[in-house]
């Protein structure tokens, strides 16, 4: 491993250490339970924290939405169905810092008035369950001792990428096929069992805890105006150093590639298979964050030895298999895009056929029912536009 690079990354990582920082559990629970619901929501809103699962919805607004909906029964769900290729941070967070995730769920419960919480964890992470259940038992006991009426349970997924979409996750928890719902109504109004429900990503929940502990101003010092705070990045692919790193948001992609690349990086897929592919010539002008290219954490690097046709083909195969099949644009679109690039590669279709396929991808973006079908256009168009010759020849 490159020693200089490792040192440099250590320097960067030292600047931010929120997610994996050790915390005293009981005082933190006390602090949060002593806050008023309004106070919690205002602090989170003020911090500018946006969801870290990929969609980037303001967390404070989500909590307020559920708090403002009148109901005796409400739910908090932690979305640990981390299925986006290239994303593996939630696994590490649950492995190392599960208690902080539980505290975040408790803060949300206090803020919105929920008595029951669930962690929906993907089946691929079943091996984490014994430790997680033990820690959860301890945590539920702490809450019981403190007299706070909130209980968390764990639910397992069974190998369906689409269940990371929040309404599909809710359907799955209700014992149905994981097919996304129409929105509105949004889950904060009608979610699990049609009750107001907040669904938050694992990492988001941990950041809420750190914001509530340190105050919103500390958090706002990090990042940029549109992308407050830090983010856990998952680096994989042709990287000199792969792994999980917490970095400030708003970093120029060029800086990121200089830090993690192997010196031959020709493209970075930001945000997993449903994200955008940025070619080397655009590294300088691209910022990692909500004002530039957002990411749920996945940063995959490709060097000059890789064929972007194979990369795109792999993504399309993934989407074709993981499409839930409910809406036509996604079910048929994913199949046709895959068949289409295969036909162009074999010469059965002219190169101009790629333009037709781009139109199809654009149609999927506006007509598919959920984020899965809508976002297939991101990798498709960005790879075909920037590496057209690699798709054809």
């Amino acid at each position: 491993m490159d020693i200089d690079k490792k040192k440099k990354i250590e320097q960067y990582s030292k600047k931010v250490d929120l997610i994996f920082q050790d915390c005293e559990i009981k005082p933190l629970v006390d602090k949060i339970l002593n806050m008023k619901p309004n106070e919690i929501i205002n602090t989170i809103t003020d911090s500018g924290l946006k969801g870290r699962g990929g969609a980037g919805f303001p967390t404070g607004l989500k909590w307020k939405g559920a708090a403002d909906t009148f109901s005796d029964i409400k739910y908090v769900i932690c979305n640990a169905d981390e299925g986006e290729p290239g994303t593996f941070k939630d696994r590490q967070i649950l492995q190392d810092k599960a208690m902080k995730v539980f505290i975040g769920m408790t803060a949300c419960a206090k803020a919105i008035g929920a008595k029951e919480g669930f962690i929906y964890i993907r089946g691929e992470y079943n091996y984490l369950l014994p430790k997680l259940e033990k820690e959860l038992g301890e945590f539920n006991r702490i809450l019981k001792d403190k007299g706070f009426d909130f209980n968390i349970k764990i639910r397992s997924g069974s190998g369906a990428y689409v269940c990371g979409e929040e309404t599909s996750l809710i359907e799955s928890m209700e014992g149905k096929r994981g097919e996304p719902r129409n929105k509105p109504p949004f889950p904060v109004k009608q979610g699990y069992l049609n009750m107001p429900t907040v669904v938050n990503n694992v990492e988001t929940l941990v950041y809420t805890v750190m914001v509530l502990r340190d105050g919103p101003d500390e958090f706002k010092k990090l990042g940029t105006k549109d992308s407050r705070g830090a983010k856990v990045f998952c680096v994989s692919g042709d990287a000199a150093i792969q792994g999980i790193f917490e970095l400030e948001l708003g970093m120029p992609l060029q800086e990121f590639v200089d830090l993690f690349g192997d010196g031959h990086t020709k493209a970075v897929q930001v945000g997993g298979s449903s994200g955008h592919c940025v070619p080397y010539k655009k590294f300088g002008e691209t910022v990692i964050g909500f004002e530039g290219i957002p990411t749920g954490g996945s940063m995959m690097l490709f060097n000059s030895s890789r064929s972007m046709y194979h990369v795109l083909h792999n993504y399309l195969e993934f989407f074709e298999e993981e499409s839930c099949g409910q809406c036509v644009p996604c079910r048929v679109g994913t199949q046709q895009l895959l068949k289409g690039i295969e036909a162009v590669k074999k010469g059965e279709k002219p190169a101009s056929y790629l333009n037709e396929l781009i139109k199809l991808a654009e149609t999927m973006r506006v007509s598919a029912k959920c984020g899965l079908g809508q976002s297939v256009s991101n990798p498709f168009i960005s790879i075909v536009d920037n590496f057209r010759e690699e798709i054809i020849f």
Partner: protein
Amino acid sequence: MSTIEAIVKATVAKNGSSRENLLPILQEISKEAGFLSEEAMSAVAKALNISRADVYGVATFYSFLDTKPRGLNVIRICKTISCYMHSKDAVVRAIEEKLRIKIGETTPDNKFTLVHTNCIGQCHEGPAMLINDDVYTKLTPEKAISAIEKYI
């Protein structure tokens, strides 16, 4: 009462018979009985008072639930981009040779089923695979074979 009916009865009693318990119920039966047979799905439908089509629909939606017999141990090799880039094909070939089956098949002694799966969240340590619930990372053909030998 057949064995399957007994398993279904016990699982439903443990989890509760409301619809939102369907997924945990199917997961447990699948683990216990090896797969979800027509008999099992019918029994679940009856116990939860929902249609058999509903149960079948759910059982076939999730890739980790099997409605066809499979081996005692299921090997799932990640085929998504990072693992693919780090030579998962060589690992697959080694396992295929070792077990003398192809991807998608089950060994004649019913010990192993070998399948491809999508991203299992070990991208920085690929190639990776799951054997049942256990995870194995940074695989080489040799490492994969020695992992499998633990289950023989």
